[in-house]
């Protein structure tokens, strides 16, 4: 049953929040799914469906109340806080809707940041950051601070930063949510390229069914439960051949 091809595996994940005793509010009611290595999966749901909570759990920012979660073979619920930090650093690349670049820090330094936390040497990480920025077409703006970059440019820097430590998965939370459709398209193209050319495992969280269609598999979340999984339309044939 255990498959070495599985990147993340969620089994019967429950998540409750205390909203003052004795009330307990369950957001996720036993979520089950797994993502294979190299898969491009989207989790789609309306606001209030629990997708943010699920993203936090997948991103090792939060622990499930009950259930099992394995990421690249590592048992998340058994990990200590600082182990979770290291895990986020090495295994997960976050891309946020609001970019979340560090202010007053240029694009290059922003991309270097996860490598710095990983303890990589200065010259090595600068070199790698430059390479990553080149991949997203940001070489000429890498010395600019976030407030000098457009939304699309910021998101490209954010993607480069997510790739910094060559993570097991890229977790993108509404990455095009704050961008106009043309720029959004550009960002999605970068994801596709990472997926196709580098075989990255990508989990895209979105409220937009339209966007989710672009992925290989769509997991639909409603009221804290998975109500369906369907295949996306993206490059299905090419994948099968591969």
């Amino acid at each position: 049953m255990e498959n070495s091809n599985i990147m993340l595996d969620l089994r019967d994940i429950h998540k409750s929040f205390f909203i003052g005793t004795p009330n307990e509010f369950e957001v996720l009611h036993g979520v089950n799914f797994s993502v294979n290595k190299g898969e491009f999966v989207s989790i789609v749901g309306q606001s209030g469906s629990g997708k943010s909570t699920l993203m936090n759990i997948i991103g090792a920012l939060d622990r499930p109340t009950a259930g099992e979660y394995t990421l690249d073979g590592i048992d998340i619920e058994k990990a200590k806080d600082h182990e979770l930090s290291i895990l986020r650093n090495k295994k997960i690349g976050f891309v946020f809707q609001t970019y979340n670049l560090i202010a007053r820090t240029n694009a290059l330094k922003n991309v270097e940041l996860p490598m710095m936390y990983a303890g990589m040497g200065r010259s090595e990480r600068t070199e790698r950051a430059k390479m990553l920025l080149e991949q997203v077409g940001m070489t000429d703006r890498m010395m600019h601070n976030p407030d000098e970059l457009s939304g699309g440019q910021k998101q490209r820097v954010a993607i480069a930063r997510a790739m910094a430590n060559d993570p097991a998965i890229i977790l993108a939370d509404e990455p095009t949510g704050a961008l106009d459709s043309a720029t959004g398209r550009l960002i999605m193209d970068i994801f596709h390229r990472l997926h196709e050319e580098q075989g990255k495992t990508i989990v895209l969280i979105t409220h937009s069914p339209e966007l989710s269609l672009e992925t290989e598999r769509i997991i639909t979340l409603k009221d804290g439960s998975i109500i369906g999984q369907s295949e996306g339309t993206w490059n299905k044939n090419a994948k099968e051949v591969g």
């Binding site: 930090s85 290291i86 710095m116």
Partner: protein, 432 residues
């Protein structure tokens, strides 16, 4: 590695809010500056006092006749002298020349010299030598022969005093080259042999100049004056005659001990010797002996205490400054909650977040501290210069100040940094 990054981030943060950073640092700057200024002034004064006292003879003992102290033994047996009981000092209470001779014979090894001095008039009195339109300020000091053996007076011309000058209380004097310069146009030969007349409080004193010695500027004199008060030196016995003290005993004098003598012990020995042999029958007076070394010690202790007390008061402003730093750190952390969340998502551990904010707080305090050191040194040097001395900047106080400002940074930065470190990444990320 993470450390230099943190410093760069901290500096960028400071630059982004220059006004805020400066105001925050102000407390630290004022605190450190006042501590350094106080230390500089204090150290300079200590050094001046010490060198002066060293010049006076740190190994000397001062002895003199003092009012008998009320010691416990006497009060217990009921033979105490009532508080405030004072009998006028009479000639019988003074130390007689016979006592001094007996004393010299008793301790030939420990006792090198007994220095006696007598000034004409009182300590503050200034005499004036006038010659046509030329004049010079002097004070007339009488010294005994031991003084000239102990103190190395640099004779430029003429002769020193002879035994008969002391014995017969001759009206002879030694003057400084400074006086010769003012009165005799620097011609020593013209000066020697001349009779000089000094007007002191309306009385005239006349002496024959027998020698000229080199003038050494007093440590305590303010700046360089071209008409300083110089010493016109006469034999001790001559001065005693002028003050109408001939054939009387001595009230106080200075003992110079030999190098190997332990002064504190010897002080007790001398006191006991005099009090047992000569003063046991005296109802009101006795002999007290103090060593210059212990006087210097207590003086230094006193200066240090004052310095410490002032520094502590100045230190309070440092604490206030520290609280200001803490306050601004809390503000900064609230402002940057989202950044903290992002850093955590990117893999920053609690430890590295804590380190980042402690570094920021230390950088603020350190920059404040350095500005404070510069201001403090400036202020201290200015104050010492205004008092007319050379400033001594204490390196140790600078090292302490740097260390202290770092400590303040760590101490007052720890709580906000820890608060930042413990932020829940989800809440921090969601913070708007």
């Amino acid at each position: 590695m993470l450390f230099t990054e943190n410093i760069l981030v901290a500096l960028a943060g400071l630059k982004a809010n220059i006004m805020r950073s400066l105001l925050t640092m102000l407390g630290i700057i004022i605190g450190i500056a006042s501590v350094i200024a106080i230390m500089t002034v204090g150290n300079s004064i200590t050094l001046i006092v010490n060198t002066t006292m060293q010049d006076l003879g740190a190994n000397n003992l001062e002895m003199g006749v003092v009012q008998r102290s009320i010691d416990e033994e006497q009060t217990d047996t009921g033979t105490s002298y009532g508080a405030g009981y004072v009998r006028e000092m009479t000639d019988d209470d003074l130390i007689s020349p016979e006592m001094v001779e007996a004393f010299r014979k008793e301790y030939p090894d420990d006792l090198k010299y007994i220095i006696m001095q007598e000034q004409i008039g009182t300590y503050a009195d200034q005499g004036k030598v006038t010659e046509g339109n030329k004049n010079a300020n002097v004070k007339i000091m009488g010294y005994n022969s031991d003084y000239f053996q102990f103190k190395d007076i640099k004779l430029i011309d003429g002769r020193k005093f002879l035994n008969r000058d002391f014995r017969d209380a001759k009206k002879v004097c030694l003057v400084t080259d400074k006086l010769v310069e003012r009165i005799y146009d620097g011609d020593n030969d013209a000066a020697i042999g001349q009779e000089i007349e000094v007007n002191l409080n309306g009385s005239y004193y006349k002496y024959h100049i027998v020698g000229v010695y080199e003038y050494v500027q007093d440590q305590f004199s303010f700046g360089v004056s071209d008409n300083p008060v110089t010493e016109l030196v006469i034999p001790y016995e001559t001065a005693r005659n002028e003050n109408h003290k001939q054939n009387k005993g001595y009230e106080y004098f200075t003992l110079v001990t030999s190098v190997n003598t332990d002064n504190d012990t010897f002080a007790t020995t001398v006191r006991d010797y005099f009090n047992v042999n000569f003063y046991s029958q005296n109802d009101a007076y006795e002999i007290a002996v103090i060593s210059m070394a212990s006087m210097m010690d207590s003086m230094n202790t006193m200066i240090n205490m004052i310095q410490l007390a002032l520094s502590v008061i100045a230190g309070i402003s440092l604490v206030v400054g520290g609280i200001g730093v803490m306050n601004i750190m809390l503000v900064s952390i609230t402002e940057r909650t989202k950044e903290i969340g992002t850093r955590k998502a990117l893999g920053a551990t609690n430890g590295s977040i804590r380190l980042q904010f402690i570094t920021e707080s230390v950088v603020i305090c350190l920059i404040g501290g350095i500005i404070g050191i510069v201001c403090g040194c400036g202020l201290g040097m200015l104050a010492v210069k205004l008092m007319g001395y050379d400033a001594v900047i204490s390196v140790s106080s600078i090292v302490i100040a740097v260390g202290f400002s770092m400590a303040i940074g760590i101490f007052f930065g720890y709580y906000p940094a820890n608060k930042a470190a413990k932020l829940n990444p989800i809440d921090a990320l969601r913070y708007e």
